[in-house]
Amino acid sequence: EAGVAQSPRYKIIEKRQSVAFWCNPISGHATLYWYQQILGQGPKLLIQFQNNGVVDDSQLPKDRFSAERLKGVDSTLKIQPAKLEDSAVYLCASSSQRGPYEQYFGPGTRLTVT
């Protein structure tokens, strides 16, 4: 079974530029999560999808972050414009359903904003 795929693995941009991350969850997983992990911290949930609908985006900075999950499979997370404090690892995870189930994490995208 293929795991959660993410790209790119690394990205360096200047502040005020835009960037997009892509995630392909495990086949058949209805629930998809985007997390932001700042160095030395635990993952912080940004947005949760159930199929192609948003379940929770209360911690997503909507003035600069956006995310979509078309057709309930792949997802993209965009930052526009980026700030220095957005430097972090962005993790995508998926699970077979909502609730207390195992989340499978992708390798993450390490973003550096200069």
Partner: protein, 111 residues
Amino acid sequence: QQPVQSPQAVILREGEDAVINCSSSKALYSVHWYRQKHGEAPIFLMILLKGGEQKGHDKISASFNEKKQQSSLYLTASQLSYSGTYFCGTERLNRDDKIIFGKGTRLHILP
């Protein structure tokens, strides 16, 4: 709202035991444990549900005291492969499906 983990870091010699604690100020429905090695994705260890159950596999086990809103992860006879950062994630009793992770406990095993 973020669970508090203790200790922040621990260094052990191979074969020693370790306990990592996770506590919340809110009533919990579930506690999730993950391990993350440097530069890698978090890997699932186990989930404990309301009801105070205790789970384990191999030499890693955990308990959940719902009255105290605390969970503990037990690593017995630690192996070099246990090194990494351990995160607990908590889901509140309101079942909002949102997992909030603690800041992590760094565990380093020496040979």
